[in-house]
């Protein structure tokens, strides 16, 4: 049980997080909106004249903005979907008593520890028109060299390959962890019914992993809205921040950077940032609704159930219940980006619980 009643001290303990988050996290995001209502410039400390929503109406007429938005959404699709599918397959293959398991796990995580800058620079070399490995490979099988940077789709393909390369292994490990939390009885039952390993993946693993998939998908989407380093450094023209000569791979984040820190239009760039924030929230809500709807269609579980129950005791140590009563209302009242993570964190832990309730109990007894 909780043993200390020293309230003042406790506030002191949590204060650093809240102070830093308020000053350097929350306040800047809210203040972005205020700045976006002004024609503020980076070059002066004056906060600029209030212009109302003119920055937004200008944005709506700005072809470069729409181009960046389109690129961002395409890249989001091209990065997220293959990455998560590949990660699932990889996790499924890794989920076995393999020889050299640690080696394989470290191998798949290796891309994730290198910096995005490093990834982009080395992929830039690999995709280089004259000296790149990929074009050499195309050449040697008799195909034409591709000018990856110049093309609309080839540049997006190259950029999404960097993102996929860096994140697939990380997501695979997360799926692997969730897969190992599924009670074995479910696999046994499926095996007795004659399901092979890939059918088990489809009918047992995927339904149990739904909260985890939703979570990783959401994290990936939020990350892609802010895609910045890859398009900035994939550009080989010195000092250019336009994302290709025709802006063929300029993302919203790069557009914001160009407007804010190259053209010094702080107000205009803030409007872009604020719209990106709204886009993030919107996508989070959509992802949340899809997973809720998905679990309703799935049928075997009700969407709220994993959240309201305490976690299954998968470990010998007794763990305290989470404040379950406080979680449920927050899921409906807090902002979307907030509410998403709340059910997920609990649901990931409880992912194996609903369908295999009794089985989990047996297992707990057996240990």
């Amino acid at each position: 049980m909780i043993i200390c009643y020293y309230e003042g001290g406790a506030y002191g303990f949590v204060a650093p997080f809240f102070v830093i988050f308020l000053v350097f996290g929350l306040f800047p995001i809210l203040y972005t909106f205020w700045v976006s209502l002004h024609d503020r410039s980076m070059l002066s400390t004056h906060s600029g004249d209030m212009v109302g929503f003119r920055n937004y109406t200008d944005l709506m007429k700005d072809a470069y903005f729409w181009n960046a938005a389109r690129n961002t959404l395409w890249l989001m699709l091209m990065c997220t979907v293959p990455q998560l599918v590949l990660a699932l397959v990889l996790a499924h293959v890794l989920n076995a008593r393999l020889r050299g398991r640690t080696l394989f796990r470290m191998g798949v995580l290796l891309p994730n520890v290198t910096s995005i800058v490093a990834v982009t620079l080395v992929f830039g070399q690999l995709f280089s028109f004259r000296y790149g490995l990929f074009n050499w490979a195309l050449d040697s099988v008799g195909l034409h060299r591709i000018n990856w940077q110049a093309g609309d789709w080839t540049s997006k393909l190259a950029i999404s390959s960097m993102v996929i390369w860096r994140w697939t292994g990380y997501n695979a490990l997360i799926y692997l962890a969730a897969m190992q939390a599924i009670p074995k009885e479910q696999f046994e039952a499926a095996a007795i019914d004659g399901a092979g390993t890939w059918r088990q993946l489809w009918h047992v693993t995927l339904p149990a992993l739904r909260p985890t998939i939703a979570f990783t998908g959401l994290v990936s989407i939020i990350g892609q809205v802010q895609l910045f380093t890859e398009p900035l450094l994939f550009e080989t023209t010195p000092g250019s921040v336009t994302g290709g000569t025709d802006r063929q791979f300029q993302t919203l984040a790069l557009f914001m950077y160009e407007e804010g820190f190259h053209l010094y239009h702080f107000g205009y760039a803030s409007a872009v940032a604020w719209l990106m924030f709204l886009l993030t929230v919107l996508l989070a809500v959509v992802a949340y609704l899809i997973t809720r709807g998905g679990s309703l269609i799935g049928g075997t579980r009700t969407p709220g159930r994993p959240r309201r129950r305490p976690q299954p005791r998968r470990r010998p140590q007794p763990r305290r219940r989470r404040p379950a009563g406080r979680r449920a209302p927050a899921a409906t009242s807090a902002p979307a980006a907030t509410s998403k993570s709340v059910p997920t964190s609990a649901a990931v832990a409880a992912s194996a619980e609903p369908a295999g309730g009794p089985a989990g109990g047996i297992q707990g007894g057996a240990r």
């Binding site: 650093p16 490093a118 190992q180």
Partner: protein, 306 residues
């Protein structure tokens, strides 16, 4: 736990969590753990291809700078290492302030890591073991902020830093990420199960203040989690790019910012750029090679517990 008697119950989740390989014969391996499916031989070629794809660009990062630009331009490009690595590395230090960049990155990453460990363990301990008004609500706020894309606030953040007079000082890069919601949640989860209440009670009996309990009981108990969080934080801080690019000047860069300067030359001199990249990547690769198992454990634990 015994693996001898029963198939399903004996090998509950634990075997996959303990990385220590238990000696088993191949026959046994097939039936021992139904969840971990039988490894068909087709898995290995697939995994080896994945491994090659994962390793190739990293290998390229170190191979290209060992060549001259003329070698790289040859028509079958070189695949093995050449002998020009030191020469290219010297060119990196001649071109940009790379020594300063390395020092700055060490200062930044170490400071961020130490602050994160201190603040996150304090807050995690408070949320796990102390009772205070508004605890549940505050914890919800912490969890909620894990998802907020704070990078979108860079413009006001920059204005703030101008007001504080911190622009182009390392402190402007250190302070905003000195504590993370993820770290607080991670620490809370670990403290909750790893610190027995009896121990805290005993410490209280002996007259420890709450801060004393934190120092003498909680911190030692949290050591494994601190190690994982420290490693993840260090690598993240080392690799951070967008905000340092905005906040710092090319004369006072971190490694990633210096790499950006290198890459923005009049034509992209790939042996030069990748030589810098190789030096900048080496520290995280070393950390990963030494502590990879703990890092993987941390990521997988974090995934299951949220």
């Amino acid at each position: 736990m015994s693996l001898t008697t029963q198939r399903p119950a004996g090998s509950a989740p634990a075997p996959d969590e303990t990385p220590a390989p238990q000696p088993r014969g191949p026959r046994r391996r097939r039936t021992a753990d139904p969840n971990a499916e039988r490894p068909g031989f087709s898995r290995y070629p697939f995994l080896i291809i994945v491994l090659l794809v994962a390793v190739l660009p990293v290998y390229w990062t170190f191979m290209i700078p060992s060549q001259t630009n003329a070698d790289v331009a040859k028509v079958p490009p070189p695949f093995g290492p050449g002998g020009h690595l030191l020469e290219n590395i010297r060119r990196v230090f001649d071109t940009v302030a790379f020594g300063k960049a390395l020092a700055n990155s060490f200062i930044v990453a170490t400071s961020i890591t130490l602050c994160t460990l201190l603040f996150c363990s304090l807050a995690g301990f408070a949320f796990a073991k102390l009772r205070f008004r508004g605890r549940g609500a505050l914890l919800l706020i912490v969890i909620g902020t894990m998802m907020v894309p704070v990078q979108l606030g860079v413009i006001p953040l920059y204005i703030e830093m101008q007001k504080f007079g911190w622009t182009n000082h390392l402190i402007s890069v250190i302070v905003p990420t000195a504590v993370t919601a993820f770290g607080v949640v991670f620490m809370r989860q670990y403290a909750e199960q790893a610190i027995p209440d009896e121990l805290l009670e005993a410490g209280r009996m002996d007259g420890c203040s709450t801060l004393g309990l934190y120092w003498h009981v909680v911190l030692p108990g949290l050591r494994p989690a601190l190690a994982v969080l420290g490693l993840l934080t260090f690598m993240q801080a080392w690799n951070d790019f967008m905000w340092p690019l905005i906040a710092l000047s090319p004369q006072n860069p971190t490694v990633q910012v210096a790499l950006n300067t290198l890459a923005a030359g009049y034509y992209r001199d790939n042996t030069l750029v990748l030589a810098g990249t190789a030096i900048g990547t080496l520290p995280v690769i070393v950390v990963f090679a030494v502590f990879g198992r703990q890092i993987i454990g941390g990521i997988m634990e974090g995934a299951v517990k949220g």
